[in-house]
Symmetry: D2
Subunit: 310 residues, 4 copies
Amino acid sequence: MRVKQMDIKSGMSALEIIEEMAGAGVFIAGRLARAVHVLSEMISSEDVTVFFGAAGALVPAGLGRIIAEMIYDGFIDVIVTTGANITHDLIEAFGETHVKGIKGEDEKLRENGINRIFDSYLSDNAFVVLEKRIQEILTDIPVERRKEGIPVYELLKEIGLRLNYKHSFVKAAAEADVPIFCPAITDSILGLQMWLFSQRNALKLDVLEDLHKIISIAYESKKAGAFILGGGVPKNHILQAMLLTGRGFDYAVQITLDRPELGGLSGATLSEAKSWGKIAKNAVTVDVIADVTITLPIIFSALKETLERK
Amino acid sequence: MRVKQMDIKSGMSALEIIEEMAGAGVFIAGRLARAVHVLSEMISSEDVTVFFGAAGALVPAGLGRIIAEMIYDGFIDVIVTTGANITHDLIEAFGETHVKGIKGEDEKLRENGINRIFDSYLSDNAFVVLEKRIQEILTDIPVERRKEGIPVYELLKEIGLRLNYKHSFVKAAAEADVPIFCPAITDSILGLQMWLFSQRNALKLDVLEDLHKIISIAYESKKAGAFILGGGVPKNHILQAMLLTGRGFDYAVQITLDRPELGGLSGATLSEAKSWGKIAKNAVTVDVIADVTITLPIIFSALKETLERK
Amino acid sequence: MRVKQMDIKSGMSALEIIEEMAGAGVFIAGRLARAVHVLSEMISSEDVTVFFGAAGALVPAGLGRIIAEMIYDGFIDVIVTTGANITHDLIEAFGETHVKGIKGEDEKLRENGINRIFDSYLSDNAFVVLEKRIQEILTDIPVERRKEGIPVYELLKEIGLRLNYKHSFVKAAAEADVPIFCPAITDSILGLQMWLFSQRNALKLDVLEDLHKIISIAYESKKAGAFILGGGVPKNHILQAMLLTGRGFDYAVQITLDRPELGGLSGATLSEAKSWGKIAKNAVTVDVIADVTITLPIIFSALKETLERK
Amino acid sequence: MRVKQMDIKSGMSALEIIEEMAGAGVFIAGRLARAVHVLSEMISSEDVTVFFGAAGALVPAGLGRIIAEMIYDGFIDVIVTTGANITHDLIEAFGETHVKGIKGEDEKLRENGINRIFDSYLSDNAFVVLEKRIQEILTDIPVERRKEGIPVYELLKEIGLRLNYKHSFVKAAAEADVPIFCPAITDSILGLQMWLFSQRNALKLDVLEDLHKIISIAYESKKAGAFILGGGVPKNHILQAMLLTGRGFDYAVQITLDRPELGGLSGATLSEAKSWGKIAKNAVTVDVIADVTITLPIIFSALKETLERK
């Protein structure tokens, strides 16, 4: 089949550009186009439970609202993410903001109480606010719920229900009853806050119960799809969720710039997961070798337009 | 300044998405947005001579037509590229096409006469056609022009004027009188064809005259802008063109996934070129760490819409 | 200072080559040489508590024994790693081995019960053995220890003490009383085994107690050094351990090919961690942009030779 | 076959460490070990013509002397490199040196007349010296040799014969009669010097004659091996040299961190070159995904020790 030279015009929508990329059909643009196609198929099918994984620094990058929108739009059924993504989401939910345009050496930033995430910045005050509000929220959760061991996904839902910022994905998930799994919650500032709270209050986390829940969702799904941004724990945790079901994911799309030859799971091809049975033999998979901050907005806009057409 | 969470909607144009990325303003999406901004400024200014550099495999990727369009739209004044990009452009101009969807081991492909460029393919026949047509064209160029030494940019113009395919950037450049510099022309199949021709016909290349020409253009420019896809010779050649003028580029945008820490020029930051004087001290530069096949179509569509608005 | 051209000879030891790299002193080789220098300083100082972090797939790569040796040699005081690294270590400790040289499509591998980690392979049987042995070991741990909530580092020590394979880093750590922290233990096959066990037996994990322990070690350290392979949870968890102490790491070396511009923590420079106070303002840091499988053996051999000289 | 856990000891030679990596045999370390094995086979065989390609910034990195040593040791028969590598080699041959340890913004460096190559630096004076000496040398070359068109490899040999610095690879090559091909010579400061010279003196370059020469060497070789550092023109030019012979390279080793999915030739696998017939169907190839500055010294030391053992 012919590689069509892309015919790009002014004013084209993301979907129209994606369609030109599909016409070419090769290299990374070809994969991006296939990703939109596969995602639209998995999202529009009633039978597919969609697991969404996100590593990286989505909220400091300005992508947090898109995650919230994906939940409101019903695109995703399960979230697996890092404590960092949740922490940054909460900070914005509490009215603090990430800022840009600051310059200076990291040592100077520290002296000025500014924390850097590449070229996105956060003041120490954001963490003061986080501490105040999260300690209040944790206190507000009935002690019976937390003293015997609460799974993290339930704790995050309790937190989400107490938020008032509609662009927070933690709130969106709580309202839509989309569970957020965070296997490494203690590996984050939110986790440090939980530990701090536990020093004077009853709080135990029951992480095996989290595992029980995600495995149950996997078991009960008719079909399963994975949409994974970046690698790390979110990627592995989604893929392993199907391991005990005896069947693998039916669809999988990942976006990452990590590379397979180094042997780590973050850069592993989705095909490799077929050898483990985490992804089904005949599943449709797309590995998009790309940065998330430029591809997610394109994908989301194109996906919405595709789904409206159906 | 606040990192605004991107507000992405269905049906948004490339430019509208770029504007949301500009609102966030950080990470790679922030840079992509700044690239569109800087490119629109350099292209819309009458005083700026725009040097466009392209390594990689643009035509096999389906991006060749965009290059031709950029020429027709008057976006670029000078091209520096690889012999491979020109070779693939000519092959399409001669009616042959790159194809996709072929599978099989590389050894098998060879047995079947199929040449692979990642997941874009070209049959041996394309090179048979190339040989026939390019030998005819070279013969057609008056012998006086080629026996004493012809600069490559003039030879490429002669070739371009003899093409009949409007999506060929070699033809577009010839018609628009945009010179194409190809410092490593002998490092390509087109170069091999020139050598073959030279074995039975008069043909000498005057590569120092090419250098003379690009330096002259640099000298005569009021202001200079660089738009560079990938690294290699095209990047270096554009940057060095300003070296003897005593002033550097006023604008520069590069798109590459190569990284600076390895020390090679392909991954060097544009800032590094300031230490050499290739880029002016106060120039506006943007390093977009990204793949070209997904960013160029977005940039081109957004650029056109921006320029129409002006 | 002059960049000395490296003078490399036959039979040179790793340290001698590192010294030539130090003489050149630039690019990645220069950083590798500085890494050896900084590591030898932090390891040889009595006052420094060394935190070692490891993501990736060390045991399938053949690097597991080096980790065990580093423990036996007293190079490291605290380990933070992934559940995957522990799982693969246990599999080798139970007599199963990773194999190489297998070819075939991932779908076929699955049919043959073979799991792929890039070009290292593991049979399904390895997991059968793992299940049998780990369930036995978990049963063997006194029920009082596990019913009320056991921190993961203690559980891993209990497991390590029951192993009989001296090249296992889990055993080495248990014997040397080096705690292994694994914040995302449930995100691994070992974690799935713990969940399985918990379905019929008393087992609760107390992950906040793990956090308590690592923070305490950080508090009690006179000085602190970090040696981090890869990104992910191990990197973040080590860096955040110092966050509450009010002082940062005094030394830090990381080896990763992830890049900072994407904004994720895995690729973040160590300098960025200074803005957070995780690393001290005047700390010595080295970012080695490299693969671990080729650099760790070189570093380890050169480190040993350096330390013997002292 | 079992992945052996590497057993690394103090004082081990590069070759001994490579042998441990070969025992593991997987991931990048496994490939590095295979590279040493394949290189030693191709170098020790009398029948194999070895083509060595080098992009990047070898001399500023301190690797120039290793290239000279490889020539003196008879490891390589043909060199293809960039004008930049030759320029930096000449600068050191003329007594100027690259320096390290300079800090400051690129704009400030320019004001101080310092040119940056990542973290290696060169003063403007080095280029003044280069100009003086190279203009003298060009003048010294008999006018008959240069007025009709001299191939670049012959011009570089003339230059090399006039150098007095034994660690210069340009001199080493001239003395050993190893031709240096530089298809993009005009894309370098040395090329600018040639152009400058040509403005007042007779100098024409006959680049088609260069192509003739490298193709002749390829034709006349019994067997052919390629050892390629980095991508760009050197990689492509070596691979295309065999294209017209009707048989491909029998051995090929490349070291690069560029990745194949982007579609450019620099990152293409060596296997892809088999589909073109540039590498023979049954050739032994090794793609080492690594940085050159850390791997080349290791490889060179291990190679020498291996060859001494034979």
